[in-house]
């Protein structure tokens, strides 16, 4: 049953690539601020819903995508300015509640701006399946994978080669020292929200031809994205992608060989086991406590 195995794998990679893209957004904000933004899923939804509604209104796809990314970025920056920035000194738990509040708010807003229906988007390059040794692969999966790959490369370049990126990393390690070095940490934080919102939007748009979209689609994607980012190790883009793929493949294999009802549970058991042995995720920085 090689072809079945291959099909499970492809299914897992498809789903995993979706989770990976969602997880990357968490990583960026974490890198800049050590904040986990539970409204990240809503960025994904807003990007997708904006793009879909623009396309439905007759805007050409590339322009619709660009506009959707810009709209989502604006939402991200606004969220940072109005909700996160004023509460920078609050505890981690308080910030979690603020971003959860933001996610409820944005979802409620989306339900009013748009509607409660599901929406679709056409695949970027047709929907003729590609046959691989008896298993089929949809072209859109390649788009998702390619986007994830491109995003990692861009992020690696951004964080290692550009001043902005290095400033972001520095801010995450030690905000005070970064500020003393002349880094505008407020700007860095804003940039990180804008960037991860943009990334969420890109992810949301690329996956919509596979998943459809609706005002409440961000919940599940945000949850799985968070799982992917934590499994891979927070703040590590490569880790988020690896984490996403592992979760996706674990789910597909569990559905294929164990029980489809328990596939999500299997994924979470794997995450738990990994965390028990690697408390900072697969590729997370091991923080030595200085005492």
């Amino acid at each position: 049953m090689l072809s079945a195995f291959l099909q499970f794998l492809i299914s897992g990679v498809t789903v995993g690539a979706i989770y990976a893209l969602c997880g990357l957004g968490f990583s960026i904000i974490y890198n800049a601020s050590h904040v986990i933004n539970f409204a990240q899923g809503e960025f994904i939804m807003i990007g997708a819903m904006t793009a879909v509604s623009l396309v439905e209104a007759g805007v050409p796809m590339p322009l619709a995508i660009l506009l959707a990314i810009l709209v989502t970025m604006a939402v991200g920056v606004l969220l940072e300015k109005l909700a996160v920035e004023p509460a920078r000194k609050a505890s981690v738990t308080t910030l979690i509640i603020i971003t959860i509040g933001a996610s409820i708010f944005l979802r409620g807003l989306a339900q009013e701006v748009w509607d409660k229906n599901f929406h679709k988007m056409d695949p970027f390059s047709g929907d003729t399946p590609i046959n691989l040794f008896g298993a089929v692969l949809m072209p859109q999966t390649l788009w998702v994978l390619g986007t994830a790959l491109l995003v990692i490369l861009l992020l690696a370049w951004f964080f290692n080669r550009t001043l902005e990126g290095k400033a972001m990393l520095a801010t995450s390690f030690n905000p005070l020292a970064a500020q003393l070095m002349g880094i505008n940490t407020k700007r860095v934080l804003m940039l990180s929200f804008g960037l991860s919102a943009a990334l969420g939007a890109v992810g949301g748009i690329v996956i919509t031809p596979i998943t459809f979209t609706a005002y409440d689609n961000g919940i599940m994607l945000g949850l799985k994205g968070f799982s992917a980012a934590v499994l891979g190790g927070l703040g590590n883009g490569f880790g988020a992608v690896a984490g996403g793929l592992i979760v996706g493949i674990a789910e597909a294999m569990a559905a294929g060989y164990l029980s489809s009802a328990y596939k999500d549970a299997v994924a979470f058991v794997i995450i738990l086991l990994v965390l028990v042995f690697l408390p900072n995720g697969l590729f997370g920085r091991k923080g030595t406590e200085r005492v």
């Binding site: 609050a90 308080t94 509640i97 409820i104 708010f105 409620g108 009013e112 549970a265 995450i271 738990l272």
Partner: protein, 312 residues
């Protein structure tokens, strides 16, 4: 909190709880008050873990759900007396929490959040899937709560039971917080290594508080199973967990009375917000964000600080 002010707080709470039913025009209001008591009891327990010991749990609804389903299943399908089922549920949840606590509570911050979230989700998947036992997504009815021939019926009966239990839980929780055990919990929140070097076995205390808060949630769950006409898996899911944490943070972490206020406020809020119909989520989210931005320490500590400042 000194001994005197603790008794004053308990007394005030007791008077409030005793007087409240007079102000409630009909059983619907009593129902909301009962639900607030349920949430308050869980939150007082959860606050020991999150507020005092500084360990987040995004999976506590799982323990609430386990307790609830243990009762519903044992009473409904196996004919156990409700009280025995409640104790069995608490024992099962306590053992389970004990077994997972040590490895899980080694994790910190967002990793701990992820792990507890995962545990909660796994529990809710099991409840949802094992329909033969749990009734699946459509739920199960546990029937009324009875001890011997005494049957608890009607919202007002339930109110007195839950108000009494809330008072007892608050008494126990404040006792614990204001003891060497409670100081150890607060200390490990402040600095784990700082607590260790003066002899606090931080791992043991983390396990202990985790089990205590899980058992409180389980007992509340067991009773809830009898109170609700139909117990469904949504009571054990991720959203319920988030709601519980929100109540704790909203009311004020490391404040037992804050947990009660948070639970009461957020239980009532959706009932009030129904007038906004479809705009309810926007307003609920807005209130959550606004409160946490302007009162990052939560309602009760912030307002208490305000009062203290005004006092000469």
């Amino acid at each position: 909190m000194s001994g005197l002010s603790r008794w004053a707080g308990l007394g005030a709470l007791a008077i409030f709880l005793a007087a409240l039913p007079q102000a409630l025009p009909n059983n619907y209001y009593v129902d909301v008050a009962v639900l607030a008591c349920f949430n308050a009891i869980i939150c007082v327990g959860l606050n020991l873990l999150i507020g005092y010991a500084g360990q987040i749990s995004l999976g506590h609804a799982g323990f609430f759900g386990l307790g609830a389903y243990a009762s519903a299943v044992l009473v409904n399908s196996y004919g156990w007396p409700p009280l025995l089922a409640l104790l069995a549920g608490a024992a099962i949840v306590g053992l389970m929490a004990f077994a997972i606590a040590r490895p899980v509570l080694k994790l910190k911050g967002h990793y701990l959040a992820m792990a507890t979230l995962g545990i909660g989700i796994i529990i809710s998947i099991v409840i949802n899937t094992e329909a033969g036992i749990t009734g699946g997504p459509d739920g199960i009815a546990a029937g009324p709560f009875s001890i011997g021939s005494f049957k608890l019926a009607g919202e007002r009966d339930w109110y007195w039971l839950m108000a009494g239990l809330l008072l007892a839980t608050v008494w126990l929780a404040t006792n614990l917080v204001d003891s060497p055990v409670g100081r150890a919990l607060r200390a490990l929140h402040g600095s784990e290594v700082g607590a260790e070097v003066v002899g606090v076995d931080t791992a043991r205390y983390k396990v202990m508080v985790f089990v205590v808060s899980a058992v409180i949630a389980s007992v509340a769950g067991s009773l809830f199973a009898h109170y609700t006409p139909q117990l469904t898996p949504t009571k054990a899911d991720f959203f319920k967990s988030i709601e519980l944490v929100t109540m704790v943070v909203f009311g004020g972490m490391a404040s037992t009375f804050g947990a009660i206020v948070g639970a009461a406020f957020l239980t009532m809020l959706p009932q009030v917000l129904t007038v906004f119909e479809d705009y309810e989520p926007v307003i609920l989210g807005g209130i959550m964000m606004g409160t946490m931005i302007f009162m990052p320490k939560g309602l009760v500590p912030t307002i208490a600080a305000l009062f203290n400042r005004r006092r000469p």
